[in-house]
Symmetry: C2
Subunit: 244 residues, 2 copies
Amino acid sequence: MQDNLLLFSNSHTHGMRMFEHARAALSEFLADHHTVYFAPYAGSDYDGYTNTIKTALEPFGVTVIGLHTVSNLQQTLQDAEVLFVGGGNSFRLLKTLEQLEMLAPVRARVTSGELRYMGSSAGTNMSCPTMRTTNDMPIVQPESFNAFNLIPFQINPHYQDPLSNSTHMGETREDRIREFLEENDVPVLGLREGSWLRKRGSQLHLDGLADARLFRRGTEPQEYKPGTDLSWLLTEKATFDQKA
Amino acid sequence: MQDNLLLFSNSHTHGMRMFEHARAALSEFLADHHTVYFAPYAGSDYDGYTNTIKTALEPFGVTVIGLHTVSNLQQTLQDAEVLFVGGGNSFRLLKTLEQLEMLAPVRARVTSGELRYMGSSAGTNMSCPTMRTTNDMPIVQPESFNAFNLIPFQINPHYQDPLSNSTHMGETREDRIREFLEENDVPVLGLREGSWLRKRGSQLHLDGLADARLFRRGTEPQEYKPGTDLSWLLTEKATFDQKA
């Protein structure tokens, strides 16, 4: 079986209801599955967050169950067919995934094709080898920055272009990603709001409402349009902790 | 002897040369000291960064020496009278401070009043108990988020107000600090660009070109004007890893 990933930059696009920008992609991804297990750990109010996701996803004909409510988490992870990891704070999310010992079992079942993985924002960041390209504040400390490692490159969700005429002297998003590339030889895909990646086995496509910007060490950033086949990114070399 | 800290939100303020916004504060802080040891570890080009700081600080009548150029770092840390920790990436900075075993000796000499500490941006973040309120991307992984712990609260440098009319759906700076307060019961001072804190023993003052915004769990954020005595912040309770 091939693995199936759907990785959103964000769930809410300006002026639209949650996932309204991605209805067709969601229907295709959910296919004939009827239950979505939701990991609310990037948020602080698990019940409230799960209810929001129910409202957004149940019109697609699925039942949404918060993973925090199941009695046997490890057994549920072995039986589940669709997992959605929601956004919020990536550090809080990863620390909780570590404490719940979710990383290895989820990775095994996603890569073997038994469990579909859908992520948004922090949940998309978790699909990468590490959380090193998150935008979030390190409010708590996970043991390691290593994440689900479902793809061999890094994504920066909510990618933002520099604001013209800004007087702010802090780093732009591009500055930050360039700093990442000084320390790591790993491609980073800046996924603008409204866009997503869809992976089916060895096939990877960009889709959605916005172009994406790819950063690699030693080359100028490149822009890709929705619909672009990015499968070649799945075979790119990635080396962490190697200074430029 | 009392300790002496000068903690800048940033070194470059829009439209000004480095530290031009803070000439009087710098002169007062440097007093009759003639050598500033500079820690360039938040950057990637240590020599280039040190030269930039030389150009900015030597008009104040001091010699600037990059700590990366000294032959015996631990001895230098015992003899130095002024340390400046510069900005850049906070994760890279803290990982390097750990590897160089700088945290404990610097803290001991600063708190005893023998070593003056000046920080900017990431260097200001390092003066806090932890780096948990940085804006930076976690491009490398330090062993711990614990920092110099020279003050008992957290600072968010380059504090930015929400942009009006923004269509971006990512978290605002205030959202991120609220997430921090969900996990930690520790005050966070949002230090806007152009402002700084000056600590002399038990006295702490805000100064510079902008108001600062203080966030505490369970209360609305409060604004403070340059010149405000914030010494009471030095005796506030701070508890990390305690959910709201």
